[in-house]
C-alpha cells in the first residue's frame, strides 16, 4: 500500500496535470459570443404595420372589352408570364427575401360584358377602367355563382395579401390599395388620408386588398420594350400603398428609383429606394 505521506503531493501533482490539460484543451478554443438575434419584423403595407405583405397573392386577368375580342393578343399568356416572373424576382430582391409574390394567370382571356367605351377614359391612368373592370371581375370570377368562377383561382391562402392585376386591352396604367371604410364619400376618405380627392374611388371589390391595371401594350409593343416591365412593377407597387415619386403635373421625379425617374429604366437596372423600403418594413 502506498505510504500516506505521498498521497498529498500526488494529489497536488495530479490536480496540476489535470489543470494543465484543461488549459491546453480549452485555450485553443474559440470564445463564442452568441449574436443578438434580430427581432423579426414582417414586411407590411406602406406606412401600416398591421397589414402584412410577406406573401402577396397576385391574380392576373387579361381583360378584353366586349367589342375588342377580335383584338385579343395571340401570345397574351407569354407576354404576361415572363414579366410576371421578372417582377417576382425583382420584388424578392428588393425586399431581401422579406416579401414574395405568388402569381397566377387566369386561364383564359376575360371578355368583358361591355364595350371599350364603357371602360375607357383619358385621365388619371384610366382609373375608371380599373374600377369598372375590377368590379366586374369581382362579380364574375370571385363569386361562386359567377360565370368565371374557379375555386382554385379565386380563393387566396389565409394570410396572403391578395392583389388583383388586370392586363387591359386598352389604355391604362394605374394601381392602388383597396381599404375598407365606413365613410360614405370619397371626399371624406380623402380628407382622412390627406390625399387628393382625385385619387380616391369607391369600389365594391372585396376579394383583393389592392389592384392595378396596365395596358397590354406595355408588355408587347416594341416602344415599351425597355421599360414596360418597370411600368408593370410600378403599378403593382401601388397595390401595397407605395405612391408615385414624381410630380403628376410636371413629371419631375423626386427619386431615381422605379417609383420615380427609374420607371423609364429597364427592370434589370431598376430598384426601390431605401426610403420606400423602410416604410414597407423591408429595412431597419
Amino acid at each position: 500500500m502506498a505510504n500516506n505521506k505521498f498521497v498529498k503531493p500526488l494529489f497536488i501533482f495530479a490536480v496540476l496535470v489535470v489543470a494543465a490539460g484543461v488549459y491546453f484543451w480549452f485555450s485553443g478554443r474559440s470564445v463564442d459570443i452568441v449574436n443578438r438575434q434580430s427581432v423579426y419584423k414582417p414586411t407590411h403595407l406602406y406606412g401600416n404595420n398591421d397589414v402584412s405583405i410577406e406573401k402577396i397573392k397576385l391574380m392576373v386577368f387579361y381583360a378584353v372589352p366586349g367589342d375588342r375580342s377580335g383584338l385579343i393578343y395571340g401570345k397574351w399568356r407569354e407576354i404576361m408570364k415572363k414579366p410576371l416572373e421578372k417582377i417576382s424576382d425583382f420584388h424578392k430582391l428588393q425586399f431581401h427575401g422579406g416579401s414574395e409574390i405568388d402569381y397566377e394567370i387566369y386561364p383564359k382571356p376575360v371578355i368583358l360584358e361591355n364595350s371599350g367605351s364603357f371602360y375607357d377614359s383619358n385621365n388619371n391612368g384610366n382609373a375608371k377602367a380599373l374600377k369598372l373592370v375590377a368590379e366586374e371581375l369581382e362579380k364574375r370570377a370571385f363569386k361562386k355563382n359567377g360565370d368565371l368562377y374557379l375555386e382554385n383561382f379565386a380563393v387566396s391562402p389565409r394570410g396572403d395579401y391578395p392583389v388583383l392585376g388586370i392586363i387591359y386591352e386598352g389604355f391604362g396604367a394605374i394601381g392602388g390599395v383597396i381599404e375598407e371604410s365606413g365613410l360614405e364619400s370619397e371626399q371624406e376618405f380623402a380628407k382622412l388620408k390627406n390625399l387628393p380627392e382625385s385619387v380616391i374611388f369607391k369600389t365594391s371589390v372585396e376579394s383583393a386588398n389592392g389592384f392595378f391595371l396596365l395596358s397590354r401594350g406595355y408588355l408587347s409593343e416594341p416602344e415599351f420594350e425597355f421599360y414596360g416591365q418597370s411600368f408593370l412593377y410600378h403599378e403593382f407597387a401601388h397595390t401595397f400603398g407605395v405612391q408615385d415619386y414624381y410630380d403628376h403635373e410636371t413629371g419631375l421625379a423626386f427619386s431615381d428609383d422605379i417609383m420615380g425617374a427609374g420607371r423609364w429604366r429597364s427592370l434589370e437596372s431598376n430598384f426601390i429606394s431605401s426610403d420606400i423600403l423602410k416604410e414597407l418594413g423591408a429595412m431597419n
Binding site: 485553443g28 459570443i33 438575434q37 430582391l93
Partner: protein, 606 residues
C-alpha cells in the same frame, strides 16, 4: 536473480519514492515546457491571424475603393474654356460613348443641364438630361427618354460642385451605385452635371478573389448592412447584418483591426469564427473577414494535441520505467531484509543471492560473510554451553551427593545450625543442577541432538501422572488442580518429553499462582490435532512479555515474580519439544487474571 514484476503493486516506501521522483522529474518539466510553448504559440498565433486578416482587409479595401474611385475619377471633367455654357451636344455624346466603352462597369452615363439660360434659342430645363448612353441605349438614348433629375439628390449635390456617390441599390443585374460629378469650366463654375450608374460586379469579383486559409472568407456590407459581395457565393444571404454585433459596430464607423480589434464569435452562419473588419468611410461600407476557428486554429490544435499525446506517452513510459527501476533497487534490499530476519531468528544456513553487478551485490556478499561468521560464533557458543554444562554436571552432582551424606550423618552428627546452612546449599545446588540440565538440553536441541521418539499414546495417562506428582506441591499452596479427562483420541508424541512438557507447564501454573487458586486442564480436538489447555488463575502475563516468553533465558521481571526462581529456559525447551513433535504451543493471558497455555499434538491415526 528472480524479478517479481508486480508493476502495479506499489508497496514499500523506497519504491514509492523512486516512482514519484521518476514521474515528477520526467513529466513535470515536460508539462511546464509544454504549457509555456503552447501559451507562446497561442499568443503569437493570434497575432499571426490578426496580421493575415488585416492584410487581406486592407488589400481588398484598397482594391474596392480604387475600383470605384477610378470611375469617379474619369467623371471629374473640366473644360478649358471660361464660358459658362454646357458642353456641346456632340461632345457630350462622344464623351459618354467613350466613357461607356472604356469602363465596362458603367451601366449608364448622362449629362444633365445646369444652365437655365437660353442657349442657341433653346431653353432646356435645369436638371434635364441632355445626353444619355447606357447598356440599354448603347448608341445613345433619344430625348423622349431623357428625364428631369432636378429633384434628385445626386444632381443637387453635383450642381453645387460636389461629387456625389449614392447608397448601394440592388438590381437584377447586381448591386449598383449612382454617382454624379460636376463638370467645371476654367473658372471652376459648374456647366454640366455628369451622372452615372456603376455596376458593382467588379467589386463582387474583387471580393470573390479572396483567400483566407482553407475556409475563411471575406464579405462586404452596404450602409444598411446588406450583403454587396461575399467571397463564398453559397454563403450569400438576403437579411441585413445590422443586428449582428460585429457588423453593427463596423457600420457605425469602428475599426476592428489588429489584435485588439479581432474578435472570436459565432458568425451568422452559425460557426465559431475569428473576425476582423474595417469601415470604408467614403461609402459607409463595412468589409469583414471571418476565419472559421477550427481552420484558423488548426496549427494550434495540432500542436496542442501533439503536446498532450507526447506528455501522455512520456508519462506512461515514466510509470513503467519507474516501476522497473524501483523494482530493480528495492528487490535486492528486500532480499537482504529477509536474510536479516532469518539471521535474527538464528537461521544461518540460507545465504542471500543478489546478482546486480553493482554495490548492492557487494553488500549481499558482505552479508553472506557476516552470516557465516555469526553461524560460526553460534556454533562455538553452543559447543561452549554444551561442554560447560557437561563439565559442570559432575561437580554439582558430587556436591549434592556429599552434602546428602553429611546430612545423613555419615561423617558424624550435624548441628542444627550447620544443618540449616547445608540445606540452603543443597537448595542452591539443586537449582544449579536444574540449570545445568536445562543448558544441556538446550545445547542438545541447538545441536540437533535432542532425540524425540514419537509413538501413539494416550495423553490422559501422562497428565494424570504429572498431576499426581505435583498435587503435593499444589496442596501446599492450596491450589486445586481440575482435570477434565473426557474421551480423547491418542496422539503422536514422545512419552518422556511429553511428561517434561506437562511438568513444566503445570509446574509453572502452580509456581505463578500466588495464594490459593485453581488450575484447569482440558483437551480439545481441532482438525487433526489434539489441543491441551492448562489454565491457571495466577498473576497473568503482560502482552509485551508474551512476545518473548518462549525465548532463551527470558523471565518475566515484575514485583510479583521477583521471588519466583527459574532458569528462563523452561518454556524455550518446551517449545522445542512440542515443535519437534509437530505441534504448536501458545499462550493467552491477561495480567492479574491468569494464563492459559495451550499446545497441540497430531492425533494418532488408528
Amino acid at each position: 536473480m528472480i524479478y517479481n514484476f508486480d508493476f502495479f503493486k506499489l508497496s514499500g516506501r523506497l519504491r514509492n519514492k523512486i516512482f514519484f521522483m521518476t514521474v515528477f522529474v520526467s513529466v513535470g518539466p515536460l508539462i511546464i515546457l509544454g504549457f509555456l510553448a503552447f501559451y507562446s504559440l497561442n499568443l503569437f498565433h493570434r497575432f499571426d491571424i490578426a496580421g493575415i486578416e488585416d492584410n487581406l482587409i486592407n488589400q481588398k479595401t484598397e482594391e474596392v475603393s480604387g475600383f470605384i474611385n477610378n470611375i469617379i475619377g474619369v467623371f471629374e471633367l473640366r473644360v478649358d474654356y471660361e464660358l459658362s455654357s454646357p458642353i456641346a451636344s456632340s461632345s457630350q455624346n462622344f464623351i459618354l460613348n467613350e466613357l461607356l466603352k472604356s469602363n465596362p462597369a458603367l451601366e449608364e452615363a448622362a449629362f444633365v443641364n445646369t444652365i437655365s439660360e437660353e442657349i442657341n434659342g433653346e431653353r432646356i430645363a435645369v436638371g434635364k438630361e441632355t445626353a444619355k448612353y447606357s447598356k440599354t441605349y448603347p448608341n445613345g438614348a433619344s430625348d423622349d427618354v431623357f428625364i428631369n433629375k432636378s429633384k434628385l439628390e445626386s444632381f443637387q449635390q453635383a450642381a453645387t460642385g460636389k461629387i456625389y456617390s449614392g447608397p448601394v441599390y440592388y438590381t437584377l443585374k447586381g448591386p449598383m451605385i449612382s454617382i454624379a460629378s460636376p463638370v467645371l469650366n476654367a473658372n471652376n463654375a459648374v456647366i454640366n452635371v455628369l451622372t452615372g450608374e456603376i455596376n458593382l460586379s467588379g467589386v463582387q469579383k474583387i471580393i470573390q478573389n479572396s483567400r483566407l486559409g482553407n475556409s475563411g472568407y471575406l464579405y462586404l456590407l452596404d450602409y444598411d448592412g446588406f450583403l454587396i459581395a461575399h467571397s463564398q457565393a453559397s454563403k450569400a444571404i438576403k437579411t441585413s447584418f445590422k443586428s449582428q454585433f460585429f457588423a453593427s459596430d463596423l457600420l457605425k464607423g469602428e475599426k476592428k483591426l489588429g489584435i485588439g480589434g479581432q474578435a472570436r464569435y459565432q458568425s451568422v452562419w452559425g460557426e465559431p469564427v475569428v473576425g476582423a473588419g474595417d469601415y470604408i468611410s467614403k461609402f459607409g461600407w463595412a468589409i469583414i473577414a471571418e476565419w472559421p476557428a477550427n481552420d484558423a486554429d488548426l496549427i494550434v490544435s495540432t500542436v496542442r494535441n501533439q503536446i498532450i499525446l507526447f506528455s501522455l506517452i512520456v508519462f506512461i513510459a515514466a510509470v513503467f520505467a519507474s516501476v522497473f527501476l524501483a523494482d530493480r533497487i528495492v528487490k535486492p534490499i528486500k532480499i537482504l531484509e529477509s536474510g536479516t530476519k532469518r539471521v535474527s531468528q538464528g537461521k544461518f544456513d540460507q545465504l542471500v543471492e543478489i546478482k546486480t553487478g553493482d554495490e548492492i551485490e557487494d553488500l549481499g556478499e558482505a552479508f553472506n560473510k557476516m552470516t557465516a561468521g555469526l553461524k560460526r560464533l553460534e556454533e562455538l557458543k553452543e559447543e561452549f554451553v554444551f561442554i560447560a554444562a557437561h563439565e559442570l554436571r559432575t561437580p554439582v552432582s558430587a556436591i549434592k551427593g556429599y552434602l546428602s551424606m553429611v546430612l545423613d550423618g555419615t561423617v558424624g552428627p550435624v548441628s542444627q545450625g550447620a544443618r540449616k546452612f547445608i540445606e540452603e546449599v543443597l537448595v542452591a545446588n539443586q537449582r544449579l543442577i536444574q540449570l545445568v540440565n536445562d543448558l544441556l538440553q538446550v545445547a542438545r536441541s541447538d545441536a540437533g541432538r535432542l532425540t524425540i521418539d514419537v509413538v501413539s499414546l494416550d495423553i490422559r495417562e501422562q497428565v494424570k501422572t504429572v498431576v499426581s506428582e505435583l498435587t503435593p506441591l499444589s496442596n501446599e499452596k492450596n491450589i486445586k488442580i481440575i482435570y477434565q479427562s473426557a474421551d480423547v483420541p491418542g496422539v503422536m508424541a514422545d512419552s518422556v518429553r511429553l511428561k517434561e512438557v506437562l511438568v513444566n507447564l503445570i509446574g509453572n501454573a502452580i509456581k505463578y499462582t500466588i495464594g490459593s487458586g485453581e488450575i484447569a486442564i482440558s483437551h480439545e480436538v481441532k482438525a487433526q490435532n489434539l489441543i491441551t489447555h492448562i489454565k491457571d488463575s495466577g498473576i497473568g502475563i503482560s502482552t509485551e512479555a508474551q512476545k518473548k516468553l518462549f525465548e532463551k533465558f527470558y523471565r518475566v521481571q515484575t514485583e510479583k515474580t521477583r521471588d519466583i526462581t527459574g532458569t528462563g529456559l523452561g518454556l524455550f525447551i518446551v517449545k522445542q519439544i512440542i515443535e519437534k513433535m509437530n505441534g504448536k504451543i501458545w499462550v493467552e493471558s491477561e495480567e492479574g487474571k491468569g494464563s492459559t497455555f495451550s499446545f497441540s499434538l497430531p492425533i494418532a491415526i488408528s
